[in-house]
Point group: C2
């Protein structure tokens, strides 16, 4: 078999089943190999940001990697923003990036670029294949790296001649290392801090500590110690809703976040580092934890969070069950009201289906909606981990591929949605069960707030125009239908309720343009 | 003034008048500085590939740089593909890339990335500001680098605290160095080769050798020596049409290109290097010039091409005028015929307005249309220099901003158009005089050809589906109107002729979806 077949065969032997692809000429042998490989699904994206964002969504939900197929340095470049988000989510992702044949590189043909150089800033691991036989070996290594708990970004650069040369063979899968355990000393220190601390306390959770099994342990700890349970502002995947252990989300703006944490005297971190402000602002601190508080690391992002929390709960002699679980609750809203974020949140609090997956890139509106849906039916909430907008729709694609039996809801701000609208086409092509809600306020609303927060005085019309999306207004129904996804517009709470109920009752992609 | 104001003021003092922008929070001070700076136009793109592609188009037409405004490493990442094309076009471009405040970087906040590392693969020069005063100095240096003949990509990373700190000042412009002259020995060697060579000869031209002044000199040389005049397959900007010195374009596919050049015994290169195949193919040569031919470099891309050609023409004692200029010519086409690339070419050959600018990312269809429009009214033809698709619509934006009194025509293949469709919104917002023709064949047609050329045997449905854009079909009229650009669809030659004539007679953006 040729190198491409051995590479793809090795990935399949490792358990990789999905390829999100946007190939070009230098990847035609990889396309041929995927074509021949039983059990490897190929999903086309019309833009590379869709491909990498979908791989992120798939990785978050499947807890194993999909592979991307990208066209040289420029194609990889188009996928970098969502790889940045995937890396910040600690998602497992394997990238296969085609490159010119090794002997062709020195001619400096027009598409020649430093593909490994493009990969490095957003990859945890980059490997350039050395031969047609080494290519399969690189695949096995990439899988092991991508599966490093909880996940990493592994990129393999594939010269075209390694792909097409015969004489390669499938390599046996490498077992990913088991997750590292938090040290016993860390568990003891956290137990002592929570037991002995006299003032207000919190568990601060991120990464895998936000899955249901870990949250049950956190709930036991809270029952034993009175600690609050707080999560990072932008988590990869949070289990929440009725019947689950509730979690308070750290506010986005730095001064609000600092105030939120200000009275805590003990904070135990599990699955993440102490929070810092998203951006720097003149004269405002970046570090958010209160001065003088006792900050204790129970487990890092790369240590087994559920095991560490279980160990801590047991060390505290905590009760076997959490004392506090989320009650079912929804918000009322008057159908005659003009639609606003609160109306969207109220309708969602009532209509989110059991076991739904929410891809939230709702920006300013998303923060309000999150708060109102705490008591909805149990669901997964996926957030914009790296701040590179254009994640929401691709992430929904990947989540729907990973979980075909669950309803996916994409809450997408209009500004961010315009970075990767091509995801809608892939939803239509693959008949993915995704309801997209475009939160259309005609503005980069967050930047209108930030402009003042960073100290720009008296912005003129030129500055304000750079934050305004209404000249001309985007017609998302038209965009959606142009890519094959049926769409309707809602301007009142009643219209939104009816549209959402209809979309949720149907199977397959729908878009609702919520005019807020 | 703060660092941002000094930086923007320095760029303005250098002569920069346009900023293509997609800012975020860390660039708010730069937004404020642009807002205050008289004579600096701000043009918003909804995606960074639009921003960098527009800067390329502006640079090709204005022969001076615009500045881009991009949001940290991920925002720059989204712009890399079109920066790759701009670099291959040797366009002058300055990028200003915001970054976190220097003191905030070590906190590793979610959007933290290696912005300089992202910039390097697609920039000729990267500079990280060292202080609020150094930021203005970096601006002056960036302008000088960008203006290096014929143009370079200069990227400045701007930490937010340098932008907002007071105490900076505008720096005096640095004069760009004059273009290097081709050595006298190169002119003598080229003259001797053309004079003494007995077999078929050609001038092979690229870069600035394809502007009208240089082509007149090439025509003189052809008149004196009988040399053919050939240009690279993908040139940044070619002056052509009725009354101009005609140029033969090297074919795209390697074996056709080699055959095209096969009988030449002498080739003189000016403004480019000897051509190589775009991709490598198993068993086919990458080097295209015939073995044993006398290859002479008259001037490199970075040497003054018109001066070198003038020197060569004079050394040959050539007549003062070309013997051969393009006659006016157009192709007939039956209005009742179903539309195909030949029909589009025929209609364009008759309707291209005097002094129009064509942004050609027509891919397979574009190659046919190019051949048929040689005898149209005089125009500029801009090509996909780096092979990273998604250039065509953004390039048209930039060309229209640089040349508001000229009609711009974007010939855009459907597959490539989906990488940067957001350019249509900027056309609408800025009321740019661009007619976009989408060449919709529902396919990555080039890849269907390449799949066989690289030796993939008997591709199955999974492989073919990855090259097919018809499931679902894209409705470009719907997409265009969703972004504020009026659109109509043409399925026959007559419909296309009527739509194009109407769009050309109007002012402002229009889109025609040509079903080919």
């Amino acid at each position: 078999m040729n190198g491409a077949e051995a590479f793809v065969g090795t990935l399949k032997a490792c358990g990789v089943e999905v390829c999100f692809a946007n190939p070009g000429t230098s990847e035609m042998q990889l396309v041929g190999a995927i074509d021949k490989q039983d059990g490897m699904r190929a999903i086309l994206g019309l833009f590379e940001g869709v491909v990498t964002g979908a791989a992120d969504g798939y990785g978050r939900m499947a807890d194993k990697p999909a592979v991307t197929l990208l066209h040289l340095g420029p194609g990889l470049g188009n996928g970098l923003a969502n790889l940045h988000n995937a890396r910040r989510a600690a998602s497992p992702v394997i990238n296969m990036v085609g490159d010119h044949a090794t002997y062709h590189l020195h001619y400096d043909a027009p598409l020649t670029s430093d593909a490994a150089g493009v990969a490095r800033p957003m990859s945890d691991w980059v490997r350039v294949s050395k031969s047609e036989r080494d290519l399969a070996q690189a695949g096995a290594e990439a899988f092991a790296v991508a599966q490093s708990y909880p996940g990493k970004i592994a990129t393999v650069v594939v010269p075209a001649d390694h792909a097409w040369t015969e004489g390669s063979a499938i390599v046996a899968p490498q077992l990913a290392a088991a997750p590292a355990k938090a040290p016993a000393e860390a568990i003891e220190a956290a137990a002592a801090a929570l037991r002995d601390g006299t003032g207000p306390k919190a568990l601060f959770l991120g990464g895998r500590a936000l899955r249901e099994d870990a949250l049950v342990q956190a709930g036991r700890i809270a029952a034993a110690t009175g600690a609050r349970i707080v999560c990072e502002t932008f988590a990869a995947r949070l289990h929440r809703g009725a019947g689950r252990v509730p979690v308070e989300r750290l506010p986005y703006f730095g001064e609000q976040a600092a105030a939120f944490l200000a009275d805590l005297e003990t904070i135990v971190f599990c699955g993440c580092e102490p929070p810092v402000s998203f951006f720097a602002y003149p004269g405002k601190p970046s570090w958010l934890s209160p001065e003088g508080a006792n900050l204790v690391r129970l487990a890092s992002l790369r240590e087994d969070a559920p095991a560490a929390l279980t160990g801590l709960a047991d060390a505290l002699g905590a009760p076997s069950q959490p004392a506090n679980v989320q009650q079912s609750a929804s918000f009322p809203a008057d159908d005659a009201d003009k639609l606003a974020p609160a109306g969207v949140g109220a309708v969602l609090s009532a209509l989110i289906p059991e076991n739904a997956i929410i891809s939230d890139e709702g920006a300013t509106a998303g923060l309000a909606i999150f708060g109102m849906t705490a008591g909805a039916k149990a669901h997964d909430w996926l957030m914009l981990t790296g701040g590179a907008i254009g994640q929401g729709l691709p992430l929904a694609v990947g989540a729907a591929v990973a979980c075909p039996d669950r309803k996916v809801l994409a809450l997408q701000a209009d500004g961010g949605g315009m970075y990767t609208p091509q995801a809608l086409w892939t939803m239509a092509r693959e008949k993915l069960d995704v309801v997209t809600v475009i939160l259309n306020n005609g503005s980069y609303a967050i930047l209108n707030i930030e402009l003042m927060r960073v100290g720009v005085q008296n912005p003129g019309p030129k500055a304000l125009s750079m934050l305004d999306l209404r000249n001309p207004s985007l017609d998302w129904c038209s965009l959606s239908e142009g890519m094959g996804v049926p769409a309707e517009r809602a301007t009142t709470v009643g219209e939104f309720r009816k549209a959402l109920a209809g979309a949720l009752a149907a199977k397959g992609p729908r878009l609702i343009e919520a005019m807020i």
